[in-house]
């Protein structure tokens, strides 16, 4: 049995991942914004086999509230083995170009709140000397593109932060996993035809659990995104700037 904290537990990928954990009989502490949706998810995980579920509401940009929620999760589960940070918003690039206010808010949610949560968590995990910190970043953080560079830049910050954290926690026996999903199919379009690049949340969830179990450092999900991003990262800038992506 693992004691798992999930932040952003109402996201499609987080919920699908939580179901994988529940089926194995893990204990789960779910954090999200909407209490009634958290309750619905917690009930579901209980029927699916989770030995324990508990929830807490949190607005991730309410930085002052972070410590209490982390403390509550730790106390409720009797310690933490794994944390999965999955919250985020897919920013509207155009609005970020027009409003500094929007840009800052998107950065607060997608980058700063994640780093802020990781700071005490990293210290806690380093002190206990074991565990996994898994964070959903994005392939969008690998290279800024005109269509979503505000979001991409926030995810790039998260990826770089995790890379450093991984080096730092290596000697403590704590694994830091950066998850980089590509296009993920949501319930809305699940049954309708779409390109071969689209993955289902359940498949991404299996990839996350597998990467956690194997102690991986970076997981592109599905795996072929590592090849796609390898190419995209290596297109020379003088060519890249002429491409519309």
């Amino acid at each position: 049995m693992r004691r798992i904290l999930i932040i952003g537990a109402t996201s499609a990928i987080a919920e699908a991942t939580a179901r994988q954990f529940a089926a194995r009989g893990d204990a789960l502490f779910l954090v999200g914004r909407d209490a009634s949706r958290l309750k619905a998810i917690a009930d579901d995980l209980g029927v699916r086999g989770a030995v324990r579920t508990a929830t807490a509401s949190l607005e991730v940009t309410d930085f002052a509230a972070h410590a209490a929620v982390l403390e509550q999760a730790d106390r409720d589960l009797g310690g933490l083995d794994t944390v999965l940070i999955a919250h985020g918003t897919l920013s509207n690039q155009r609005e970020c170009e027009e409003s500094v206010e929007t840009l800052r808010r998107e950065f607060d949610i997608n980058a700063l709140s994640v780093m802020a949560l990781l700071t005490p968590l990293a210290n806690r995990f380093a002190a206990q000397g074991h565990g996994t910190i898994a964070v959903i970043s994005s392939v969008a953080g690998d290279r800024g593109r005109m269509s979503n560079y505000a979001y991409g830049a926030a995810k790039a910050a998260v990826s770089a932060f995790l890379s450093g954290l991984r080096q730092r926690l290596q000697k403590s026996g704590v694994n830091v996993l950066t998850i980089k999903p590509g296009f993920v199919d949501t319930p809305m379009t699940r049954d309708f035809p779409k390109g071969a690049l689209w993955a289902k949340p359940e498949d991404v969830a299996k990839g996350i659990v597998n990467a956690i179990d194997k102690g991986r450092s970076v997981a592109y999900l599905p795996w072929f995104w590592s090849l796609i991003m390898l190419v995209i990262k290596h297109v020379p800038e003088f060519l890249f700037k002429r491409v519309k992506l």
């Binding site: 089926a23 909407d34 009634s36 949706r37 619905a40 998810i41 009930d43 579901d44 029927v47 699916r48 086999g49 949501t186 319930p187 809305m188 379009t189 699940r190 049954d191 309708f192 035809p193």
Partner: protein, 432 residues
């Protein structure tokens, strides 16, 4: 976003907007024009499509709410698949009391079509096992509907094709099983009369009865097939659950089902069993869901898709009526790899528009060859209507309005319960 959508038969196609429902407590999102709840899209024709309208996708409502392992009572959201229920319940000794031939349907869809299974003669329709459900209407109202509370709404919605509102969650009664295995007995029969005799003789001792028939055989061989009867096996070890899932990777430009492949397959299938009777211990998955192991099997009918035809004809003259139907099909040289034949029992369905009624039900697929196919199905309708039978809306893409009204004379009593902002391609076709 406008999306071209298809139903399981891949005919017809419809342009519609999609809205995902993900929170059962949330109000219905606003939409223009008409809307229709859409689960996993396993209905064959246009009863799950809404051309130029909106589909309210319910697969995002896929949470289990509570399960009592002592009583087998399950509460779950409407977008939960029957497969999801089996995944956790069988290990705890519980099974679906009624299941159709695919486990990839949603609970809401199973209620809206009041589906049946191979045990209709003992268990009736799906809605018989539904304690109740919440119905959310476009006016924002929510009703708990059960056989005792808002019973009229329950009767209108079970089998009501999604037209009375969105089912958000439901409470079901599961049934006890001792394990995942089935004792299956297969009898080869050479004419329809034998099928009817086997059916009658098996009714009291076998929970599940169904037959596959060779719809390509004519003359002396007409109506030959395999009668399969089964019960849940007592606990114990059985063959492992089959793991490999195949899939049809692409849609061929033309149907792979033609008169040549059809005759060859059916003849081989009929003769695959050496003796007249065979026994087997089988896992429930290949027994109940033989086609679910082949992903996207509906693609083998090619780009034009296929039409399923499922009818029920009264028991009194079943042999004669079925002979007429199978002769028409065999003469046409079209049809599916094996047709499915089953006797429905006497149990009355709860729903106003429920399809099952006493008699024999025949189901098979026809590749969409255009005019010829539609003409054949029209001729089958002539036979079914003359006999006083009915055709199954969940599997239909072409029945005439006057036929529908004759098959379901109670259809007008549904009117006051229809959600004024809901509609479907099927409903417009048969009522306007």
């Amino acid at each position: 976003m406008t999306v071209k959508g298809q139903s399981w038969g891949r005919y017809p196609r419809a342009d519609q907007r999609l809205i995902a429902l993900t929170d059962r407590h949330a109000p219905l999102p606003s939409f223009e024009g008409s809307a229709l709840p859409h689960g996993n899209g396993r209905s064959y024709g246009d009863s799950c499509l809404n051309h130029d309208g909106t589909l309210l996708h319910t697969r995002g409502l896929d949470r289990l709410i509570a399960f009592d392992p002592a009583t087998g009572v399950l509460r779950c959201e409407a977008g939960v698949l029957l497969a999801d229920i089996l995944d956790f319940a069988v290990a705890q000794g519980w099974f679906l009391p009624v299941t159709p031939g695919t486990k990839f349907v949603t609970v809401g869809g199973a209620i809206a079509n009041d589906v049946h299974g191979k045990n209709h003669h003992v268990a009736g329709c799906f809605s018989e096992w539904v304690n109740g459900f919440e119905l959310l209407r476009s006016d924002g109202s929510r009703r708990w509907c059960s056989p005792s509370e808002n019973a009229d709404w329950f009767a209108a919605t079970a089998g009501g094709l999604g037209l009375t509102g969105v089912i958000t969650w439901a409470e079901l009664r599961l049934r006890r099983v001792r394990g995942a295995w089935m004792n299956v007995e297969t009898h080869r029969f050479s004419r329809l009369r034998e099928f009817l005799q086997l059916s009658a003789a098996s009714e009291s001792d076998y929970e599940y009865t169904v037959a596959w028939i060779d719809c390509a055989a004519r003359g002396d061989r007409l109506g030959r097939g395999h009668f399969i009867r089964a019960n849940h096996a007592p606990a114990g070890d059985g063959p492992a659950r089959p793991r490999r899932r195949l899939a049809v990777p692409v849609t061929p430009p033309v149907s792979l089902i033609n008169s040549l492949s059809l005759r060859a397959f059916n003849t081989l299938y009929y003769h695959r069993q050496r003796g007249r009777v065979a026994h087997a211990l089988t896992h429930y998955e290949p027994y109940f869901y033989p086609l679910d192991s082949i992903g996207d099997w509906n693609r083998i009918y090619g780009r034009r898709g296929f039409l399923q035809y499922q009818c029920v004809v009264p028991p009194e003259d079943a042999e004669h009526t079925l002979t007429d139907l199978i002769e028409q099909i065999a003469d046409s040289g079209t049809g599916s790899f094996l047709a499915v034949l089953k006797m429905f029992g006497q149990r009355r369905s709860a729903g106003i528009l429920s399809f099952p009624r006493p008699g024999a039900t025949l189901a098979l697929d026809f590749p969409n060859d255009g005019h010829a196919t539609f003409e054949l199905l029209e001729r089958l309708d002539d036979v079914v209507a003359a006999a006083g039978g009915a055709v199954y809306p969940a599997k239909d893409a072409r029945m005439r309005a006057d036929r529908f009204r004759a098959y379901f004379p109670a259809w007008e009593t549904l009117r006051p319960y229809l959600d004024p902002r809901f509609s479907s391609g099927f409903w417009r076709r048969v009522t306007e």
